[in-house]
C-alpha cells in the first residue's frame, strides 16, 4: 500500500513532463504549418523541393531543459506531501520512462503524418538511413530517456549546490574541455579523437544499427539515473 506513494509521484512527474511537451509540440505544429505553406507555394511543376529535418534534435534539447525543470517543482510538491526521497526517486524514474515512451510513439506518428505534407525525415532515419518505424520508436525512446535523465541530473546538482559553487559548476565544463584540449595537444593523447571513436561505436554509426545504439543509449540512461540516486538520497529541502 505504501509502494503506491511512488506511483503517485510517477503520475505527477509524467503529467508535468507532458505538460511541458505540450508547448513544444504547439510550436512544432506552427512551424510545420508554416513550412507546409512555403513548400506548396514554392513547388515547381507540381513537385516539392527542399526538405525539413531536425525536429528530432530540437526535441532532445527541449527534453534536457524539461528534465532540469520538472525536478524542482515535483520535489517541492512531494515534500509538501511528506513523500520520502526514495519514493520520489523511483516514482520519477517511472514517470520519465513513461513520458519518453509516450513521446516517442507520438513523435513517430507525427513524423509519418508530416511526411504526407512535405518531405520529412526523422532524425533516426537521417542517421541510420533506414525507414523502420519500430526502430524509430525504440531509438527515439532511448534518446528521450537519456535527454530527460541528463536534464534531471543537472537540475538536481544545481538545486543541491549553493550560490558560489553553482557558478563554478557552470564554468567547469568549459574549463575541462579547454584543459583537456591542451593536455591532448601536449601529450598527443588523442583524447578527443578517442571520445569521438567511442561515440561512433556507441551510436553504431559504422554499422548503422539503431538497435545497438538504442541499447547503448538505454545503458547510458541507466547510468545517469543511477548517478541521481546518491545526490537525492540525503538532499535537504532548499528554500
Amino acid at each position: 500500500m505504501l509502494r503506491s506513494q511512488n506511483l503517485k509521484v510517477s503520475k505527477l512527474v509524467f503529467k508535468e513532463i507532458l505538460n511541458a511537451i505540450k508547448y513544444y509540440y504547439g510550436i512544432i505544429a506552427i512551424i510545420s504549418i508554416f513550412f507546409t505553406g512555403i513548400f506548396y507555394y514554392t513547388a515547381k511543376n507540381g513537385s516539392i523541393e527542399g526538405s525539413v529535418n531536425g525536429f528530432g534534435f530540437s526535441a532532445l534539447i527541449f527534453l534536457f531543459f524539461t528534465g532540469m525543470g520538472f525536478f524542482k517543482s515535483s520535489f517541492g510538491f512531494t515534500q509538501a506531501n511528506n513523500v520520502s526521497r526514495r519514493s520520489f526517486y523511483s516514482g520519477a524514474i517511472i514517470g520519465v520512462v513513461a513520458a519518453s515512451g509516450a513521446m516517442a510513439v507520438f513523435e513517430v506518428i507525427l513524423n509519418n503524418v508530416l511526411r504526407l505534407f512535405m518531405p520529412y525525415e526523422s532524425l533516426m532515419e537521417m542517421i541510420y538511413i533506414r525507414k523502420d518505424i519500430f526502430a524509430d520508436i525504440l531509438w527515439s525512446f532511448t534518446c528521450f530517456c537519456l535527454s530527460l535523465s541528463i536534464g534531471w541530473l543537472v537540475g538536481m546538482i544545481l538545486y543541491r549546490l549553493e550560490g558560489k559553487i553553482k557558478t563554478l559548476l557552470l564554468v567547469i565544463p568549459f574549463l575541462t574541455v579547454a584543459v583537456v584540449g591542451v593536455i591532448d595537444e601536449i601529450f598527443s593523447l588523442n583524447i578527443y579523437y578517442n571520445i569521438y571513436l567511442l561515440l561512433i561505436r556507441l551510436l553504431s554509426l559504422v554499422d548503422l544499427n539503431p538497435y545497438v545504439a538504442a541499447m547503448n543509449l538505454m545503458l547510458m540512461s541507466v547510468l545517469v539515473i543511477g548517478l541521481c540516486f546518491p545526490i537525492i538520497k540525503r538532499m535537504p529541502l532548499r528554500g
Binding site: L2, G76, F77, T78, A80, N82, V83, S84
Partner: protein
C-alpha cells in the same frame, strides 16, 4: 497511536548549532505549542521531524519507527510549512486532488466546506492567492488530511482577526471530533494560550521547557511595587525578567504563589499577580 520521540537530536551546520541535544517525547492526541524566538530552532525541529532535513546526531521516531525516509510514518503526518512548495499554476481544486492522492484519508467535502467558511474560491490558482489566503488554503489541507499528526508552522501568518478566530475554532472543532496530535509553532502566544494543552520552549537550540500550560503558569508569578521593596522580596528567589518605570518595579518570579510569599508581599506592600504566558515566555527567553 502516534507517539513522537526525539532522542538526542542535534543539528549542526558549519558554524552554528541549530539544535543541541534535544530529548523530547510527545504523547499522542495533545495540542502542543512550540515556542521560541526567531532563529531558536523551532522550524529546524519540525523539519527534522518530517524528514525535510536530517539530524547530525540522534533519531526521531513515530510509534517507535524512525521517520527517516519512512513513507509509512511520514504518511501519518501532515506538515503545514511556511514556505511555498505547491506549484503556482495549479488551482486549489487540483491541489486538493493531489492531496487526496498522497493522503488517502483526505476529506474533500470537509475541505470544500472550509473553503466556503473562509470565503476561499477553490478555482483560484496558488499564484493568485494573497499571503493570508495561502496560509488558509494550506491550513485547510492540513485539517482535511485526517493525518494522525498535524504540524503547523505559523499557521495564521497574514490572517485577519476574523480568520484567525475562525481558524482556532475550526482547529478545535476538528480536534474535539477526532483527537489527534497537533503541534503549533507560533509567535502569537497570547492568542493561542487557551488552545494549547502543553508548551515546548526552545531557546538557542536547546529545549528549556516542556510543561502543561496550566502548570507552567502556576509555577511563576509577577511581583510589583516599589523597587526597593521588590528587591527585598526577590532575595533568594529565582527570577527572570523585570520592568522598571521610575520607582515602580515589576518582576517575573519563577516560583509558585503560596501563603509564605503571599504574606511577605502583603507585609512589604507589594502586589502578586499571575503572569501571562507571553510575558513568561519573554522573561524565559531574554538573555
Amino acid at each position: 497511536m502516534s507517539l513522537i520521540e526525539f532522542k538526542g537530536i542535534s543539528k549542526y551546520y558549519k558554524e552554528t548549532k541549530a539544535l543541541d541535544n534535544v530529548n523530547l517525547t510527545l504523547e499522542p492526541n495533545k495540542i502542543f505549542g512550540l515556542l521560541g524566538r526567531n532563529g531558536a530552532g523551532k522550524t529546524t525541529l519540525l523539519n527534522l521531524l518530517t524528514n525535510k532535513i536530517f539530524p547530525t546526531t540522534g533519531e526521531i521516531t513515530l510509534d517507535g519507527a524512525t521517520v527517516f525516509e519512512n513513507d509509512a510514518a511520514l504518511k501519518n503526518m501532515f506538515y503545514m510549512m511556511e514556505r511555498r512548495l505547491y506549484p503556482e499554476n495549479l488551482s486549489i481544486k487540483e491541489i486538493f486532488k493531489w492531496s487526496k492522492a498522497f493522503y488517502p484519508e483526505f476529506d474533500g467535502e470537509y475541505a470544500y466546506s472550509l473553503c466556503e467558511k473562509f470565503k476561499l474560491n477553490p478555482k483560484k490558482r496558488v499564484k493568485e492567492l494573497s499571503t493570508g489566503y495561502e496560509s488558509i488554503f494550506k491550513a485547510i489541507i492540513a485539517l482535511a488530511s485526517n493525518a494522525k499528526v498535524l504540524i503547523f508552522d505559523e499557521p495564521v501568518l497574514g490572517l485577519d482577526a476574523n480568520h484567525r478566530d475562525l481558524f482556532y475554532k475550526e482547529l478545535l472543532a476538528n480536534y474535539n471530533e477526532k483527537p489527534k496530535t497537533i503541534i503549533i509553532s507560533t509567535h502569537l502566544i497570547e492568542e493561542i494560550e487557551g488552545v494549547l494543552e502543553e508548551v515546548i520552549i526552545i531557546k538557542e537550540g536547546k529545549l528549556i521547557m516542556r510543561k502543561p500550560v496550566a502548570d507552567l503558569l502556576t509555577s511563576a508569578h509577577t511581583v510589583s511595587g516599589e523597587a526597593s521593596k521588590v528587591d527585598v522580596y526577590l532575595k533568594g528567589r529565582n527570577s527572570a525578567g523585570e520592568e522598571m518605570i521610575g520607582k515602580f518595579k515589576s518582576v517575573t518570579v519563577l516560583e509558585e504563589v503560596n501563603t509564605i510569599n503571599k504574606t511577605m508581599a502583603k507585609e512589604l506592600g507589594l502586589e502578586l499577580s499571575k503572569v501571562e504566558l507571553q510575558k513568561l515566555f519573554i522573561s524565559l527567553t531574554n538573555i
